[in-house]
């Protein structure tokens, strides 16, 4: 039974990171209807900036974590300003393909840095001995990551429910013309959506980097695992992204824990989310919490 609870714990940890990654993705989709395929690359850059600030510059990790969020905030904002602003009004297909191009560009830039080829890991700043409750244990990094993730998710929820900027972002996602007519600057909101997405991505990247170490392949694969998460949760639901992220983390951990090694199956955790994605697309495309009013063919 403790094996089960151990899987639940690690599932929730992984899942909450998925939730945080998916949050930024949903934000961009909600406000500007753009599928951001470069999200994994933004997560990776956030993690690398955190590492560079901590180890190479020598700032305390908490401070560099916050600083990398701020830097990525402005980076994502400028990405929107430079590449996506001029595509407003173009068919959505070319906007999506610009994000594919962006993905390649950021890939290229990261390959030029040492991060592209080598693995790094953050210096230990927390106690090494894991916390144990009965037979279940959780490492300090995971616990701190989990707490930060939930704080971030809570902050974002507050931001969208109560703050003026958040409400105007929701308004734009609801109806662009109506929000323009009440004086919301739609391009500014798009920029802000990208910036906030960058911020949450950097946070996710920093946490992943601390838990699993810095490996570019692992980090940018988080940008692809986001797709099953947002489809299960509903593409335009922030709450759905959070719930589905945790569900997906649990599914992956259970698959790795119970399926692998039996019946000749291996690596099921990598493929199960995508199979679920395809099934959900066929039977319930708006996901668990998405708006039912889906664009019909």
């Amino acid at each position: 039974m403790s094996y089960f609870f151990q899987l639940v714990i690690s599932g929730v940890v992984v899942g909450s990171i998925y939730a945080l990654s998916a949050l930024g993705f949903v934000l961009i989709y909600k406000s500007s209807r753009v599928l951001n395929l470069a999200h994994g690359q933004i997560i990776a850059s956030g993690a690398f900036i955190t590492y560079a600030l901590t180890v190479w510059v020598g700032i305390h990790i908490a401070l560099s974590f916050i600083m990398s969020m701020i830097i990525t905030f402005f980076l994502a904002m400028s990405v929107e300003r430079v590449f996506l602003r001029r595509l407003i009004g173009e068919p959505i297909i070319s906007v999506i393909m610009v994000t594919i191009g962006l993905m390649s560009i950021i890939d290229g830039i990261i390959y030029m840095t040492p991060f592209g080829a080598e693995n790094f890991s953050f210096p230990e700043f927390l106690p090494k001995t894991p916390l144990a409750f009965g037979g279940v244990s959780i490492s300090w990094t995971q616990l701190v990551g989990l707490i930060i993730t939930f704080i971030m998710i809570g902050a974002f929820t507050w931001f969208f429910k109560a703050s003026t900027v958040g409400i105007s972002m929701r308004a734009v996602s609801d109806d662009q013309f109506a929000s323009m007519s009440i004086g919301i600057s739609v391009p500014k909101v798009f920029g802000l959506a990208w910036a906030t997405a960058g911020l949450s991505a950097a946070a996710a990247g920093g946490i992943i980097g601390n838990i699993t170490g810095l490996n570019f392949d692992v980090l940018h694969s988080f940008g692809i695992i986001v797709f099953p998460v947002v489809i299960v949760g509903g593409l335009d639901s922030i709450f759905g992204a959070i719930v589905a992220g945790i569900i997906m983390g649990l599914i992956q951990q259970f698959a790795a824990g119970y399926l692998d090694g039996n019946w000749g199956l291996f690596g099921t955790a990598d493929v199960l989310p995508y199979i679920i994605l395809l099934i959900i697309l066929l039977i319930k495309p708006h996901g668990l919490f998405g708006i039912h009013e889906i664009e019909r063919v």
């Binding site: 390959y111 593409l235 994605l277 395809l278």
Partner: protein, 364 residues
């Protein structure tokens, strides 16, 4: 006024039939035939090294693949980021035969045209299955469906013992009337085979767009509700487009397998899917000539980038791996710059050049 089919300075169509002609003037037809003869004749005249023949063969294979992608993305408005996976399905169809029957079985070496067709068919089936969500959903969701197919494909290949876990599976040399195709003539032989396939499929695509189905596809892309109201079925049209694109990809995959005499996982990754998409964009979405320009431009660029990276690598050795960095960087830049400044691709330059020469010496 009897129209002059040799020299036309503008459009003088009097019937829909005339507008749908493949070659507007006899000069067009003449130039096309001359070009074709040139394509078939030049390897006989010039001595080409195997290395360059391989590049040219790869371009031709990419053209076949991009036909399919262009049909789907350009004419159907459905983005696919799993095109390399569909190619992989075609290639691994051959690999399956090779694993069961042995790499030099008669079926693989003597009946290779049949195998190529079969690979196309299997690709089409997979395309249709992945495209099934198109019955209900629009392109945003289909991007995700194709992406997840790519991921599932990669997993299946990497984790199945039967498919050698992504390691190369050998495919034997094929036989021709004159006997086994020798090592020296291998690229030469496949150049002609692929060229013939490219020409046949090119005409197939061009004619497909003149048929009811092709116009249906374009109508669904432009306005699916209007198309629905006109009595077309947008969902089935899209699934059909996925199947067709899968067919082209499957054929391209089979050709790839035969050309490289083996099937390996690393030729069908997400990066390749993206580069096929880049080819389609750079060439010009929704144009047939774009399918030729795109692969040629991107693969040439890739070659140049490799040379350039080698050059730079001599001088700067400290900074990362320059060669692996330049490839995605140049790719992404090309995609983004084309989308921002020339969304109609190289095909648009071609169109401008053509109209210029057609009207020369007049400017308009």
């Amino acid at each position: 006024m009897a129209e002059n089919r040799w020299l036309a300075t503008g459009n003088f169509f009097t019937s829909y039939r005339a507008e749908q002609r493949i070659f507007l003037t006899h000069i067009d037809r003449l130039i096309f035939v001359c070009f074709l003869v040139l394509l078939f004749a030049w390897p006989l005249v010039f001595e080409v090294s195997n290395k360059y023949m391989l590049v040219i063969d790869s371009i031709l294979i990419a053209i076949v693949a991009v036909y399919g992608l262009n049909l789907l993305t350009g004419f159907g408005g459905l983005i696919s980021i799993g095109h390399a996976a569909f190619m992989g399905v075609g290639a691994y169809t051959l690999a399956t035969f090779s694993r069961i029957l042995g790499s030099d079985h008669v079926l693989l070496t003597h009946f290779w045209p049949l195998m190529i067709l079969l690979a196309g068919g299997v690709g089409a089936v997979f395309g249709a299955v992945v495209g099934l969500p198109a019955l209900r959903l629009k392109h945003l969701y289909l991007v995700i469906a194709t992406l997840s197919f790519q991921m599932i494909f990669q997993w299946v290949i990497n984790f199945s013992k039967f498919l050698n876990q992504g390691q190369t599976i050998a495919i034997g040399r094929v036989f021709w009337f004159a006997g086994k195709v020798a090592r020296k003539e291998h690229y030469f032989f496949w150049y002609y085979v692929i060229l013939i396939i490219v020409v046949i499929l090119g005409f197939a695509v061009r004619n497909l767009l003149r048929t009811r189905y092709g116009r249906c596809l374009v109508a669904v892309r432009d306005n699916d509700r209007a198309a629905d109201a006109m009595g077309m079925h947008p969902g089935f049209t899209k699934v059909y487009a996925f199947a067709l694109s899968g067919f082209f990809a499957g054929v391209a995959g089979a050709l790839h397998a035969y050309l490289w005499r083996g099937v390996g996982f690393e030729s069908f990754t997400l990066h390749h899917s993206i580069s096929y998409l880049a080819m389609a964009i750079v060439g010009g979405l929704g144009t047939l000539v774009g399918s030729f320009f795109g692969p040629a431009a991107i693969l040439m660029l890739e070659l140049q980038v490799e040379n350039f990276a080698e050059l730079v690598g001599h001088y700067i050795t400290a900074v990362g791996d320059v060669a692996t960095a330049f490839r995605p960087l140049s790719f992404g830049l090309v995609i983004v710059l084309f989308l921002m400044f020339e969304p109609r691709g190289i095909a648009n330059w071609w169109r401008i050049a053509r109209t210029y020469f057609k009207l020369w010496p007049f400017r308009y």
